[in-house]
Symmetry: C2
């Protein structure tokens, strides 16, 4: 499976996790979501789209991790570096892996010891609440608690191998964006542009396109999360496409704007303002800076210093990850963090132009992973 990293990558992740666990007095981590499981195993499959089956990884504070998974996943999990793979035939209405997981935790965690689960923002527990109650009842003498944000801290700093993956995905989207003039013009329905843009991403090498948002409206747009309508592009529209394509399990997340026909002075000015804000965020992005510093650098350009929304975020195995570029986020940036810069320049009537780039924090500052957008809004 080409998407697997060499075992040393996963060993390094395990080592970092186990070091952190010692500091939090945790004897095991219990992980249930796709990115958490994949972080330690490399287990990459779109099968997570089905909610039917739960999947578990137990990371002990010493020794190798254990996968506790439905038997349908064993063949694929055996391609990973994991040697301890325990399975049950799911779905099992009498006991859907709970006893097997409880036995595994009983073996890995002494009585009285603590089992950490990701419990903070942007996390959730991907197992039924009833089974969660059963698991806790089966292990009354172990302590279930939060993971002390260990997963957050581990995943927030990417390895060189991960950064290379994200760079590859960004380059795929770069090539797709360069071809937008092939698919978007006056009279073409926005929904058709969305379909054709996803086809371009695939043609340029994406494995799949997990996210595409965007908008097209006269002189800027107000809503950036709605599905595409069938309304045709008309002269004066600003078209924005924002994609989370995936290659080998890693996302890009950036957008590009286009003017359908000549752009008004107002649109050109807002576009320039969004790019200037992004430049300011980029200039502020260096080791030692805080996530909030990037927010303020960008907000100073676009205005509305404390109420400009979220102006970027982490990126990697998920479309959005920690940290958030908001005033409250005091995360200190370190080399290896991958971020989006996503300022939006306001326009009258609730309209805006959102601009987004992907960057990586380096030893000396930041570097672009996406090829920076043209300084003037492209005309279709």
């Amino acid at each position: 499976m080409t998407a697997l990293f060499p075992p040393k990558e996963y060993r390094a992740r395990l080592h970092r996790a186990q070091q952190a666990m010692a500091g939090h007095d945790l004897t095991a981590l219990l992980l249930t979501t796709e990115p958490e499981v994949r972080y330690f195993t490399g287990f990459l499959t779109r099968f997570w789209e089905s909610p039917t089956r739960p999947w578990f990884v137990v990371v002990p504070s010493a020794g190798d991790p254990i996968a506790v998974i439905p038997s349908i996943g064993v063949h694929l999990m055996q391609q990973s570096w994991f040697s301890d793979i325990r399975c049950w035939s799911a779905p099992d209405y009498a006991d859907d892996g709970v006893s097997l997981l409880a036995d595994t935790l009983r073996g890995a965690v002494p009585k009285g010891a603590r089992i950490g689960l990701p419990s903070g923002m942007e996390s959730h527990l991907r197992m039924p609440l009833d089974d969660w109650a059963r698991l806790q009842a089966a292990l009354p003498d172990r302590v279930f608690t939060g993971d002390g944000a260990i997963l957050r801290h581990l995943r927030m700093v990417k390895s060189e191998a991960e950064i290379a993956r994200i760079r590859t995905t960004c380059a795929i989207a770069d090539r797709a964006f360069a071809r937008v003039p092939e698919i978007a013009a006056t009279g073409v329905a926005l929904s058709e542009v969305f379909r054709r843009f996803q086809m371009l991403c695939l043609e340029e090498g994406a494995d799949w396109v997990s996210y595409l948002a965007g908008a097209a409206d006269q002189g800027g747009y107000a809503d950036v999360i709605s599905p595409a309508s069938d309304a045709p592009l008309v002269a004066g529209d600003v078209l924005m496409l924002d994609t989370g394509a995936v290659k080998d399990g890693y996302f890009c997340d950036f957008d590009r704007n286009y003017s359908v026909g000549p752009a008004t002075a107002e649109v050109r000015s807002a576009y320039a303002c969004a790019l200037e804000a992004c430049d300011a965020g980029f200039a502020a992005a260096r080791p030692g800076a805080r996530a909030a510093d990037l927010y303020h650098a960008m907000a100073q350009v676009i205005g509305d210093a404390n109420g400009a929304g979220r102006l970027g975020h982490g990126l990697g195995m998920q479309l959005t990850e920690w940290p958030s570029l908001i005033p409250a986020d005091q995360t200190e940036l370190t080399p290896g963090m991958v971020l989006t810069l996503e300022p939006s320049a306001p326009l009258p009537g609730g309209r805006m132009i959102v601009h987004e780039e992907n960057i990586v924090i380096t030893q000396i500052g930041a570097a672009y992973l996406s090829a920076p957008a043209p300084r003037q809004i492209p005309i279709l």
Copy 2:
């Protein structure tokens, strides 16, 4: 937003939910996942791909439901039939909607009354565990409990409007499968076939392609959930593609098999066996039958009567839904249920051929939503 149903569709869902709530002594339902929220609101966006923000819907036992959502979603939610939309600026590190949700529940649910959350198999709680603990602590005199499988029972029976959506999506995949000979041939990498097949689905009208699995191997395949490798197709391979394309928020989920070059007698026989099993499942599919009956009808053809795995499942707003076609599932089929029939014919060496169709239960039996596969394996 074209993906919205008329308000009467959502009113009917609400009415059914409120009737069921009375039977379970529930004063409100609390919903957190994409399909649960969309079931009552019609709120359709790929923005759920981001794990950053939680979203909530409160369904009271009388009166209209309430959306408690991040402000970034308000514009889109306002397109829905909901009139009570409460929002906060997320992410908020001090209080990410928990107080607003607690206030909402306090207003909708008297002291001592019960709030139901989906808690059984195939469900999960999409909010951080820490916030779940905070919410419970904020409402010590309300009772949080399971939803009595209300959501499961509601969603399992589709309306005519939902069935029409699924039929449309199936027809898109039908057309894409018919064009596989354009993209798959000896020498083409499986990963390229995967990319091109997703492009065909988009070209034929899919909004996006949330799921594509498959395999290609000599005389059958062993693993159906791995990502595609870069290995080129060679004569003697059986190629299988299994897609969950999406149009207007509704999935299809079926597969097709192809022989690269002439098929061996063994492959032709296994293919015939898989289709025959599917026929048997189809013949057994009628109101009053149990999910397990369909399992046994198919297992009798392919052998291994109690250990053949899951031979199909529900389908709709998600790639896989309740029920499961397994011996333990005693769900009684009723008109409006949409199912996949997914038997796999075993071959020596752990290989198999998996065949899948989509059907709907009608008053008099079943009807195909996918156009049934050719009776002989197509040759590429």
